[in-house]
Symmetry: C2
Subunit: 344 residues, 2 copies
């Protein structure tokens, strides 16, 4: 079967590892793989140019995790990482001192930047880069355009229209913060008033994205940030239309358990757009497909069982299952539950 | 006094370290420095774009050596270097596998590339990068234009005019080799038929270069490769005119001792342009300033003493001194001998 997953970074990576494990177990190909085809459509709103490097955090988090090259303890980046180059960059006064690039990670960014410099698109570069590893999942950036997410905060306003479209990250007085500055530097502690995607009106889905949605037997929405990860994916012109027209059911997994974010700072993003941090509120934010929204079905954790009825009442079939992805088996069980919900 | 030095990479770096040591000893400023001003005009023909990085080997060799951060044992690059990033690049199939970039060195290249991407010129980027260290020497790239040296070898010809000017290094069948491919990959073992400098007709000296020649009390020509280092510097339009018009004497140091190259593979370059590998032949190649050439005076090693008379006969005052730069004191003594020759 064709399993298509809309995904952000770290949470999406763990979920995709579960989907792959489930598929290899349930639909084995006899050679350690699976007869299923798994395609991840990945958020690119966190991407940026920094120190001359094109950095794509979500694509890389997924690639490293599926490759088994991720740092499980730290929760991001490469295992066995070092920071020799970053030390030099700091000594030269280049880059963002609060945004450390690991040496192994810089290898990936340099490879990508080199491919882009040669004229490849991001999806072409991603294909070249992911070919190094045996991922078992095809990674597609949602778009080849640069649609970096900017965060509107108090004291900053959208007065300099140019800074939103010139690709230089538009950071400075009177302009919005780049998502990474808000997220990584300020740990999302400055109240966000909203989010803007650079150049999004001109963006189109990358090659294969609409096709992966149209050909899907099931579309899964990973338990990623509903605003700046999944929201960014849905914000690319053409994606919502492709999802609305998909013959496959669309199943979402709540990134919220018991009113808290499983990982990351999605609550700060939800607050900014006036959505409560709860499994029910996120489901209602995505909306019922029958009412023009995204979801056919929604998975919530057992602690949130009381929310099942109101979510069902909103037109979204709801499954109550263990949501915590503690390891690969629990992640695979969650993937299986999501796919089971699709065939119900 | 203003000491201006035309220089290539490794040999030039050792010589410049000697010039600095001489100046600090003979014209001390009382604070460990010197009242002299030392300016190096540095070859950029070895520069290249590789893996999205702008690499300037001669500028970096000089900077690392003057900073005391160079690898004395290996003879190039940074001391304490590692190759974590290069390992990744190889795994991704990016770059030239025979051209290893150290991690600390990549820090320099990334800083430079980032500055260039922000719109700085190479000389502006060089000023920012060298500001990190206490060099005691101002490093000026001879030009801000990209004038990469290409090597014409048998089996390659200049049929694809575009490849010479499009800045992509023009490597491929039927085109010349990039200097680094010939030098580093092939160890100059493929006979060279000649050298071409990309875009040299459009190049102009970088800001400060002509001024450093005009203001000099002495111009020294480091014992660098006469063809692809000093030759490249002299090939930038305006440099020969500036030297011809300089009020200072121009003193060269032979890079050849007893018919051999002190370091590097300059003999392969000299052969390509039909010049014998000897102290005398290189002096005659540079030519007497009184006859429209470069040199007022020339320093040769004691083993080459018999060549003094014929070089003098060619109109170039010749000093016979120990040329081997074994350490800082012998390099400083050589610098002192060169400056003494200027005041003779």
């Amino acid at each position: 079967m064709q399993i298509t997953v809309l995904s952000g970074g770290v949470g999406g990576a763990r979920f995709l590892r579960g989907v792959r494990a489930w598929a290899r177990e349930v639909h084995p190909d006899g050679a350690g793989g699976t007869t299923d085809t798994i395609t991840a459509i990945v958020n690119t709103g966190d991407d940026m140019w920094l120190t001359g490097l094109r950095i794509t955090p979500d694509l890389d988090s997924i690639m490293y995790t599926l490759a088994g090259a991720n740092d499980e303890v730290r929760g991001w980046g490469r295992v066995g990482e070092t920071e020799r180059v970053s030390g030099e960059l700091r000594a030269y006064g280049v880059g963002w001192p609060w945004f450390t690039l690991g040496d192994l990670d810089i290898g990936t960014h340099l490879a990508r930047s080199s491919f882009l410099r040669e004229g490849m698109t991001l999806s072409e570069a991603t294909q070249r880069i992911t070919a190094r590893w045996d991922l078992g999942v095809t990674l597609l950036p949602v778009t080849d355009s640069e649609v970096e997410t900017l965060v509107l905060v108090d004291g900053h306003s959208l007065v300099d229209g140019d800074s939103l479209v010139d690709g230089d990250n538009g950071i400075g007085e009177g302009t919005p913060l780049h998502f990474q500055e808000w997220w990584t530097r300020h740990r999302a502690a400055i109240p966000a008033r909203g989010f803007v995607q650079n150049n999004v009106e001109q963006a189109v889905p990358a090659p294969g994205v609409v096709e992966a949605i149209a050909a899907a037997d099931v579309v899964l929405v990973a338990p990623s940030n509903p605003v700046v990860s999944i929201g960014t994916v849905l914000g690319i012109p053409g994606i919502r239309e492709a999802l609305a027209g998909a013959s496959a059911p669309i199943i979402g997994i709540s990134p919220i358990i018991n009113g808290s974010v499983v990982r990351g700072m999605a609550d700060a993003c939800l607050s900014a757009i006036g959505v409560e941090t709860s499994a029910q509120a996120v489901a209602e934010h995505y909306g019922s497909r029958s009412a023009g929204g995204l979801l056919d079905a929604w998975l919530i954790d057992e602690v949130d069982a009381p929310a099942a009825s109101p979510i069902e009442a909103a037109g979204i079939a709801t499954s109550v299952v263990p949501l915590w992805m503690r390891d690969v088996p629990t992640s695979a069980a969650l993937a299986g539950a999501a796919i089971a919900a699709a065939t119900r």
